[in-house]
Symmetry: C2
Subunit: 147 residues, 2 copies
């Protein structure tokens, strides 16, 4: 335990620690508003993509259609979205933000921006650029491994 490690493993551990604390920060903020990560993800997609069929949402979130039914049920119950009839396809429904949902997403976009400023605002442009370059490098390595 607490075995000394090479620098690269140490760097990965620090990155993973950041992932954990960042996840806690964000899910904590959502929980304070009675939202979950999955439901917020759906709201985000609808907010940025406009009213969508559940089928389209299943593809966008990469989950089963059945799962979307459950997420939309919850968001209808909490008043964030409504199911509207599709104008031409009577099988489909259009998941649409309510006024409350739209207001929430607007403030969430703003909070997202403020979080970015809180996290990066004190970095010099050079340091920020170096960090982003590292993020991109790591992301690219991961995508190689998957593809």
């Amino acid at each position: 335990m607490n075995v000394p490690q090479d620098h690269l493993t140490d760097a990965l551990d620090r990155l993973l620690a950041l992932v954990v604390i960042l996840g806690e920060d964000m899910s904590g903020a959502l929980e304070a508003q009675g939202l979950t990560t999955a439901r917020t993800h759906l709201l985000w997609v609808v907010h940025h993509g406009g009213p969508s069929t559940q089928r389209a949402l299943a593809d966008a979130l990469a989950v089963s259609p059945r799962n979307i039914t459950g997420l939309v049920d919850g968001l209808v119950a909490s008043g964030h979205v409504s199911r509207e009839p599709h104008p031409v396809d009577r099988r489909a429904t259009l998941v649409t933000l309510t006024d409350d949902g739209r207001r929430l997403m607007t403030s969430m976009v703003e909070e997202h921006r403020q979080l970015a400023h809180r996290l990066f605002g004190e970095l010099t442009p050079r340091r920020l650029e170096a960090f982003v370059a590292g993020v991109e490098h790591v992301t690219a390595r991961l995508q190689e491994g998957i593809a």
Copy 2:
């Protein structure tokens, strides 16, 4: 949609994209071995901390004792851990790695090291240092916000 953003928000989005793909990479690797994130977390704690009571594991993972019962049940069923009697407290059990569990964790530590080399191995020391400094900065800002 696709509204142009400031550089800081863009940096946050890139970091979040990395978080997503890193999470997928790791949970995909675990799934290939029939493990979940939560169960692996428990194994990791036992591997590094030695045999532990469920109470201690509940504290270490920051979840309810009931939750630990479920995770240990699954890991006993998959043969990765066993429940051993506590030597002096007959209320408690010691969650202990089986030989299979120990072998798995040993190989997992090695894979972890290899992942670090895959992600960072091509970076120059300067670039790695700059990236780690950014990670630490962001982590510190997040911890401030919570404390």
